[in-house]
């Protein structure tokens, strides 16, 4: 008998069908991966199982019995727990308090007793956490373990993990997988949502692929491979981005010298950062989210003034220039948060013109024909699914990113600052953006690629700089940058990395 059966699940959001007659079966004691591109309907399906959404049609059976799941509470009562991408922990409370929160019988709380039961539970499930530690002191990986323990503590038999590895460094991923293997042995069923093929092939027993809201099929891991899964996922063969990997021979164009900068909270986020990017080179900056990448991009884009240090573009110092002057100096900028890169309420044409507005004015008046012609040309050249007069917020993430790409690249900049350029995009759009960046490199531009996606950094960069707690902890040629080495550097294990 299956632990969970979902039969003919259909869910519509307005005109969008997120799940279209999806069937899904979860066996007892298996790790079952739910694979698909962004927007394929994976999270929707699991949110239905966890009672966060109500399906329009379809049936859910738990241990063979049809059940109604109207809320997460119903789900937990049926033994189903979920750890979502965004953690729901109370930061100032301890691990133990977070674990029992909302699941503590009676009105009183005996801290000693709570710590003891949580510690026992942690031991039982083999999850390494300290019950008395404050959650706000924990790393992302540790917080995730608390979330998992919190779910297990509620006596669940089915655990849903929504893209659990998105926030982890490779070492933490290994620890997570070790935990999942232990849980599987103890008889728990795990649903593992992911769009990363190698992870799916590593951890799961069976894989169900979703595409455009439909179930494409369920396969056993041992009967399939990454290429076959990719084909199921996108409906065609994908080919990785190809490029020649000659070492950089150009002269250094961007020189960042001893930059220190504060973040929004007034804490030092960049500490004495120095690096150079050559013409015709892609320098990747790898690191776990929140280690100063955002501030580095802001300093180079002109939206954050550094405390000290110098940024040179060729012979021009751009340290204290405003964004408009930096753009005019020949820097194309792709911002980390694309919603902060375009004004959603304005039209595509207006967004494409605003950065270089002076070129689109006649005596201070908008040259509306020129703006529209420009937008039409960009839409054609960059294959944007949009019209010039549509509000930009109505575009999909991929098309919005293409608008930003078009705006950043049409002036043929010498230097490109690309910050998380493919975050949240599906495979098609991701490939497109990466090709465009390679194209810039071929053209002789210097490209600084800041990304949390290790695969991306490794497949695009000539050299890779690793940023950790606001410092560049290493710059190495791509050929030397193994995933293990990068992972060590990214998690701050400098000595170990040096040995390796």
């Amino acid at each position: 008998m299956d632990a969970v059966q979902m039969v003919g699940i259909t869910k519509q959001f307005g005109p969008l069908t997120a799940n279209n007659k999806v069937d899904f079966e979860l066996k007892k004691g298996e790790v079952h991966a739910l694979l698909g591109e962004n927007g394929a309907g994976k999270t929707t399906l699991m949110r239905i199982l966890y009672g966060l959404y109500k399906p329009d049609f379809g049936e859910i059976r738990v241990n063979g019995k049809p059940v109604q799941i109207n809320s997460p509470k119903d789900a937990i009562d049926n033994g189903i727990g979920m750890v979502s991408q965004h953690f729901t922990l109370v930061l100032p409370l301890t691990v133990a308090e977070n674990v029992v929160l909302g699941f503590n019988p009676g009105m009183t709380l005996d801290p000693k007793q709570v710590n003891k039961t949580v510690e026992e539970a942690a031991k039982k499930f083999g999850i390494d956490v300290h019950p008395t530690a404050l959650v706000r002191h924990l790393s992302v990986g540790e917080r995730q373990r608390v979330e998992i323990l919190k779910a297990l503590y509620r006596n669940i038999s089915v655990l849903i993990l929504d893209e659990p590895t998105a926030v982890l460094v490779p070492q933490e991923v290994d620890m997570l997988f070790a935990t999942l293997n232990r849980l599987r042995e103890s008889g728990l069923s795990v649903i593992f949502i992911s769009h990363k093929l190698y992870e799916v092939m590593t951890i799961s027993d069976r894989i169900t692929v979703l595409r455009d809201g439909k179930c494409i099929g369920t396969v056993n891991k041992k009967d399939t491979n990454e290429r076959a899964l990719a084909r199921m996922m996108v409906g065609r063969d994908t080919f990785g981005v190809q490029r020649d990997s000659e070492p950089c021979s150009g002269k250094p164009l961007l020189k960042v010298q001893n930059i220190s900068a504060m973040d929004k909270k007034g804490l030092l986020a960049l500490k004495d950062v120095s690096l150079e990017v050559c013409e015709g080179e892609i320098l990747g900056v790898a690191g776990v989210s929140g280690n100063g990448q955002a501030e580095l991009a802001s300093v180079l884009s002109g939206t954050l003034k550094p405390e000290s240090g110098k940024v040179m573009l060729g012979d021009l110092e751009i340290t204290h220039l405003d964004p408009a002057s930096i753009s005019k100096a020949g820097v194309g900028r792709i911002p980390e948060d694309r919603h902060a890169g375009v004004v959603g309420e304005m039209t595509v044409a207006e967004n494409l013109a605003l950065e270089r507005l002076d070129d689109f004015l006649k005596n201070g008046m908008l040259d509306r024909k020129k703006i529209k012609d420009h937008a039409e040309a960009m839409i054609k050249e960059y294959q944007i699914k949009a019209t010039p007069s549509i509000q930009t917020r109505k575009l999909s993430g991929g098309n919005m990113q293409k608008v930003i790409l078009a705006r950043a690249l049409f002036t043929q900049p010498h230097m490109i600052i690309a910050s998380q350029p493919t975050r949240g995009l599906d495979i098609g759009a991701t490939e497109y953006v990466r090709h465009k960046l390679i194209e810039q490199r071929e053209r002789g531009a210097a490209v600084l690629l800041i990304s949390e996606d290790l695969e991306e950094v490794r497949s695009l960069s000539d050299r890779i700089a690793v940023i950790y707690e606001g410092r560049i902890v290493g710059i190495l040629p791509c050929s030397d940058a193994t995933e293990e080495l990068l992972g060590l550097l990214m998690s701050g294990a400098r000595e170990m990395a040096n040995e390796a």
Partner: protein
Amino acid sequence: MKPNFRIVRSPAPGWFSALIPLLAIVVTFMITSVFIIIAGANPFEAYYYFLISPLTSKVGILEVLVKSTPLLLTGAAVTIAFASGYWNIGAEGQLYAGAVAAAWLGTALIGVPQPVAVLIMLIGGFIAGMLWALVPAILKVKLAVDEVVTTLLMNYVALFFVSALLNGPWRDPVSNWPQSPTILANTMMPKLLPPARLHFGFIIGILAVATVWFILSRTGLGLRMRSVGMGQEAARFMGVKVGRTMFITALISGGIAGLAGVTEVAGIHFHLIDAISPGYGYSGIIAATLGNLNPIGAGAASLFLGLISTGSQAVSRSLGVPSFLGDVVQSTLLLVTLAMFLLRNYTLRRVE
């Protein structure tokens, strides 16, 4: 099975947005009827006097235009500010600043031909409004002080300043009332259709609305203003100088509001009094909001508010209800419209 309805978050179709003003009026009618009945009148009859009777005579129509003149100006002033993300609540104070300038120029421009004198009056009022908007604008741009608070407080400063003037140096020497001396005939706004009160200020109001529309939708400055209003962070990223744009916006907005003070002094009262504005600056906020921060919409809303304001006097004359029912209707309309703008983001959907 009983049909079931559910509220989902999805934008309403375009035709609904177009219907909002009409629906808002109907809902407002239903709500305010309660008060009209309490006041002892028949709501249908009251609404006839509110909305229809002013439009049945030439005199009535001209009076509506007179009443809407200052609202066209304050509405345009607030619209350009709000559309650019600068929350200028100070149109009332800026109006008073413009009125002070007009009362002073109106006694000083001796022997200047009327067209020139009126032009100087308007320029003077614009500058006075700008100056009154200057301090909050500097505080906002240089020190990030919330302009909602500063512009609002400047309104009270303006009111007390005027009061001090009228009870001190400017007290009318002839009547000894707290009002400034009557302005010179050559500085008065020409009447458009004598003997009706409608004056040149109405043309200025229409021009102000048209100018704000032109700036916002057709100029580079306007595109930059809108980008700041709709996405400050993205605008900054794209190289728009956010502080400078806000500063310019604040001054333009203050200047236009100052013009409203000129038209009231030089078109209606001919001297400065304490109660030169019964809150036109605040009604301008209502007009801008009802117009959904579109200058043309704000202009239409100003005309409508002028109608209600004229109508409320007709209601009070004919049915003996208090004339401030007009204010009640205005305020209710604002709240209902705001609620509808929110509801526009939701759709009622049938589920089995």
